[in-house]
Symmetry: C2
Subunit: 198 residues, 2 copies
DNA sequence: CCGATTCTGTACCGATCCATCCAAAACCTG
DNA sequence: CAGGTTTTGGATGGATCGGTACAGAATCGG
């Protein structure tokens, strides 16, 4: 029929995602994307409509994989809720430690994009809001489960507790980007749980 | 001697700061800076060495004013520590609600810059680290005072509690940038205090 | 009111921005 | 192996990027 592609679209998307993650949307040039993906400009623009479209799809991919990972941990109803939440924190801290570049982590593409684009781009903002809603739902469920198990004794509204945890996770990412080390991050997560078990 | 300036340098710096705050470093063009300050390119480059230098000074100004405001609240030893901390949260939430543009706040220039530049620019990173150290010190002091007063019963290390509060404040900003409303932000701050009083 | 000095507006610089065009290359079907 | 179709690389597009050059305007000391 026709000449086939010599590259894998998902691999290209992954490479693009990492560049956007490290440099932000404005901070990434189309040349950067060519270098990172190994593709020519033509191949990129033939596959993705624009830099914006490529970013949008990279962000969607990131959110899907990240939130799915978190869902797998938080929805593992075979384990106590408190243990699931601790595991989530441990994974997040581990991620922050492994995406380090010269003393500072890259943080989280979702958080980074919220900072850079949420106020300027309604389309991106809606994507972020959907992802946040999903994570809030996961967190609310694990909080409710922990309460049923008697582990989380806080009388606060589970919705608010979920928002609290979500905010704290974002703050954890910012702290890591600011240079906080593993011990500091772990201490933060320990204290964060105190609010649930008080 | 010579022709005097027709503009106030501090006012120009303020205008530049707001543009960087709203659009980030990469997202702000020199033309944007001319428009916002009302200055011509010559005046800007005659007063500031470069876009980078202008940003650096705008950031320094932001950090100085913001942290000074927070210090004034946290170091007001005439009031109970818990009250001071609540007041800090109230001011932060109020700020986030007033810098809104179309449902999303602009967040905090310090946090935004941490996301955009900390991993790439050692000079900016050091500025941010100094500011963070100063705020951590303020928070540690208020935590220690609250403990002496018997209000904060958490047995955790005051250093860690300060880091926890700092992370939570950043998360509060991110939540606001993501579209969280006043009620949600206030609930988060209430729960955050639970970790200190457990 | 003149000379020295500084500020300011405009034009301009090379580099880079995102995106497109087009011809050559590569593949599948018949 | 020929025709049709898609991909690919390289050249190229106008626009904008950060920054500079330069001439004229504005002010002060004398």
């Amino acid at each position: 029929m026709a000449r086939p592609r010599t590259f894998d679209e998902d691999r290209a998307l992954d490479a693009a995602m990492r560049v956007f993650w490290a440099n932000g949307y404005e901070g990434t040039s189309t040349q950067n994307l060519c270098d990172a993906t190994g593709l020519g400009r033509s191949s990129i623009y033939n596959t993705f409509a624009s830099k914006y479209d490529l970013f949008s799809r990279a962000l969607a991919r990131y959110m899907e994989t990240m939130t799915a990972r978190q869902a797998a941990i938080l929805e593992d109803t075979g384990r106590p809720a408190a243990e699931r939440l601790r595991e989530l924190f441990a994974v997040i801290v581990a991620d922050e430690m492994t995406t380090r570049q010269g003393g500072h982590s890259l943080g989280c593409l979702t958080v980074n994009t919220t900072v850079e684009l949420a106020a300027h781009d309604p389309g991106i903002a809606r994507m972020l809001e959907r992802d946040t809603a999903r994570r809030l739902s996961l967190l609310r469920e694990v909080v409710a489960a922990g309460r049923r198990e008697g582990a989380f004794t806080s009388p606060r509204d589970p919705d608010d507790l979920a928002r609290y945890l979500n905010a704290l996770i974002a703050g954890l990412r910012i702290s890591a980007q600011g240079g906080a080390g593993r011990a500091a991050l772990e201490a933060i997560t320990e204290i964060a749980l105190d609010a649930l078990t008080r």
